[in-house]
Symmetry: C2
Subunit: 217 residues, 2 copies
DNA sequence: GACATATGTCACCAGTCGGTAATATAACGC
DNA sequence: GCGTTATATTACCGACTGGTGACATATGTC
């Protein structure tokens, strides 16, 4: 990016580069974000990112050692994946005292909300499905760790005798799939993915399943 | 593709083009399939398809009016989506007489098998998630119709009072997601996606849910 | 045989991609 | 002022993309 040193009076053809490494870095990082949100991971190349940032692409190599490095930097500073706290509904202590079925229901509702407000996360999840590379593998690893830690913390020592882990992951998989699809289609198998009412119906169905599988104490 | 007119005795440098439109068309169509299975929809371009078919890319334009036309021709002749019969386990009459919970369980098992043996379908499903275009929309429409027809035929007039449609679609979404992920990763949330045992566990969890939600009569 | 048509190959185009070297300019120390 | 370093731009490279026109060869008809 360049900026004019003078006003418009002198009709200055020359512009003055900013020459601020930190600002340039931030420009590039946020360009990844906006580009990812706008186009998805399609067209996420050095040229496009540099264009979006208004900066020369060579700086991607100088500051980040290439596009993977830049994307890694982007991923680090983004909360692209919901935290344990968020998946627990915002209050860990309170969450831990809930009966099992309510824990699961709260988790499902929180997970829906978390996905709904993260278009970038949905884009990255879609990305992971079709282009495995060293970056998506890293994001993958972080996510697997996070979700396993969450599961261990709250569901590990159940004595219901049912496969709680498989149940949680099935719900997570279904919600992930529907959230991603919602970016492309309005209806899936008759389910309305475009409106809040449609998602309320989905959440209700999940709750119904949970409360049938785990009868309240 | 070319083939030698003589044996190897004359050391023939020249090869003779086949000059059979139907064969060439088939070569191109099947090249789309194998390329889709090998690389997914990434690198599914005119150049790559022509290379895979061993044919010049200009024929794609001449015979199919471009890549979309070729892909449409490919999609028409493929059973890329399981039929109602297949989703019912192979015997419609028998299926229709099962109690509801067993219907659902059989559907889930059949759906898993159907996805497992269709790498192209998985690739296309992944494609639909990120690149909506006129082709994927068509496939989408076919699929939505098919799945709704199946649902209507067997589950419409339930009187359990629960949201059966949402339940079926949740299961379908979860299984679709896991099947697609299985092409990229071996483990999802602790679930083993790479082995038959892992999928048995998933199927068991689905059955568990079904039988809890819909108690056998 | 001659000719027209169907089929296939080749060569090229402009555009984009990831990547790099050479250069210009700003900022800072002296 | 001078020189050095940090920052950014320009210009280019080879490879690939989708797409097209000119050409070559085989097939079928008369």
């Amino acid at each position: 990016m360049t900026q004019s040193t003078w006003g418009n009076d002198m009709a200055p053809k020359k512009t003055v580069p900013l020459r601020d490494k930190q600002i340039t870095r931030r420009r590039l990082i946020s360009a990844v974000g906006s580009l990812l949100a706008k186009k998805g991971f399609k067209g996420l190349g050095v040229n496009a990112v540099a264009r979006e940032a208004g900066v020369d692409k060579v700086l991607i190599y100088r500051y980040f050692d290439g596009l993977p490095g830049l994307i890694a930097a982007f991923a680090q500073q983004e909360d692209f994946w919901p935290s344990t706290l968020e998946m627990a509904g915002g209050d860990l202590a309170q969450f831990s005292e809930l009966p099992l079925d309510e824990k699961l229901a709260l988790f499902a509702a929180s997970f829906i909300q978390a996905l709904k407000k993260r278009p970038l996360t949905r884009a990255i999840m879609a990305w992971e499905m079709i282009e495995p590379n060293e970056l998506t593998e890293e994001l993958e690893r972080v996510r697997e760790e996070s979700i396993m830690a969450f599961f261990q913390m709250f569901f590990a020592k159940d004595r219901t005798g049912i496969d709680l882990q498989a149940l949680v992951m099935l719900v997570g998989a279904a919600l992930s799939y529907l959230a991603i699809r919602a970016d492309n289609i309005d209806v899936y198998g008759g389910l309305d993915l475009a409106t809040d009412q449609g998602w309320d119906r989905i959440a209700s169905a999940v709750n119904m399943v949970i409360h049938h599988v785990i009868p309240p104490a």
